[in-house]
Assembly symmetry: C2
């Protein structure tokens, strides 16, 4: 993405978990520069916009339409930002923008596309509880709007058997109330009942809620669409501390004998 001869510019900006303290300087610079903002309304509501900056809020489901509208406005020479919670590349808007360019008119390919990375939810939740991602891990979306549920279960089982820590995005919603419970059920056939499970919501925000349980006791009803769930590996451990919560971490070393 260097040495460009482009017409127009679109910045896809990761704003992290939502607390101003976890915004990068680059994201702040891009948010100041843009005149037009596209994104899911709750993310846009977190921005303190200035005079002369225009919001184009949309529903969570309209990703391709939103990307196309932003690309078309940018191609006309406006300074446009697409705002994404967390990191735009992780189950967020960057892939939708790339897909819109792939399928859209030729002049969108001449645009300058800038993606500003952000702190994605699993990194925020992990930081608040210790170091559960200290070794190999995977990041999976449990939404079967985007892939067959059979494939989701296959991936969950394959990664758990291979010894990875698992992080789940989009674990449950009102329209998909049963999938997380089914995923816990297949995991109980694969991992020990005492496997540590972390539920994290709104990490680093004032309404943060992070709690730890075991695979045996994990209750899908305690999660919602915005919860990030981390399921430990067989190696993931809790360090009890008096006066404060336990630290959860996955050791850097993996001894085959420990399996």
């Amino acid at each position: 993405m260097s040495a460009r001869q482009t017409e127009g510019r679109l910045a896809v900006i990761g704003i992290g978990p939502g607390s101003a303290e976890l915004l990068t300087l680059d994201a702040r610079t891009e948010l100041n520069r843009a005149r037009h903002f596209f994104g899911y309304k709750p993310y846009l509501d977190r921005l303190a916009l200035q005079e002369g900056q225009t919001l184009h809020a949309s529903d969570n489901r309209e990703e391709i339409n939103r990307a196309s509208a932003a690309l078309e406005l940018a191609s006309k020479g406006h300074e446009v930002a697409m705002v994404s919670g967390g990191d735009p590349g992780v189950f967020a808007m960057a892939a939708a923008v790339c897909e819109a360019i792939d399928k859209g008119p030729d002049h969108w390919r001449a645009l300058e596309l800038v993606v500003v990375p952000g702190i994605t939810a699993v990194l925020a939740v992990a930081a608040r509880i210790g170091a559960p991602l200290g070794h190999d891990f995977c990041v999976l979306s449990l939404s079967d709007n985007l892939k067959p549920f059979k494939v989701i279960k296959q991936r969950v089982v394959a990664c758990a058997r291979a010894g990875l820590v698992l992080a789940f995005y989009n674990p449950i919603s009102k329209a998909r109330p049963t999938q997380l419970g089914e995923v816990f059920a297949v995991l109980r056939e694969t991992l020990p009942p005492e496997t540590l499970v972390i539920f994290g919501r709104a990490a680093f925000r004032t309404d943060e809620k992070i709690w730890v349980t075991s695979l045996e006791k994990a209750d899908p009803a305690t999660a919602d669409m915005a919860t990030c769930i981390i399921v430990g590996s067989r190696e993931t451990r809790a360090v009890e501390r008096s006066g404060q919560g336990a630290l959860i971490y996955t050791p850097r070393f993996f001894e085959e004998e420990s399996k």
Copy 2:
């Protein structure tokens, strides 16, 4: 980690890929607050320290000793920072600090431990090339200092077969020159030869180098210890653009028929 009665405080700070623009405000605040800095020397060299701030540089291999020294100094009431490239929770210092607390003296458990997340390498590389992590992915360390090489190969194959995009950290070093080639060899038995492979080094820094090739042509000799490698899934696509590099992305949708 709330409602603490603690003695001492250690901040484990992710400084992201190394450009000041990708530091979070929280990381900047913690870097200003600390008086003693521990970390791998190249990371510490990137910080512009002020008068009254002391460096305790160390070698890359001495993680537990470094963590223990930082914990002991913090427990004596000093403001101590452990500096980590990228995100401290992803193959970096947070797990070593947790492990030191787990195995160390009781008074280390009374410390306040603060982990400040950062932009980890794979998010930075992905942002510079498009959205290759647009769907499910895994993050694996290829270092067999930390686990048997047989386990590494099993994990690589399991994740590739399950359809995940793969990201590799610590892919190769002078002491481990052959493993990356062996990993590409097992992947060639699992994925099509045209599978897209991204090599990323120093993303967002002035010496950034990011290039795309195919699994068939991927040459391990072009990588070094600081290269992050992303191997696409069967769905990962390139969008050619005139006048600028191709965008690489993994579609959000996965149709089983496409396998």
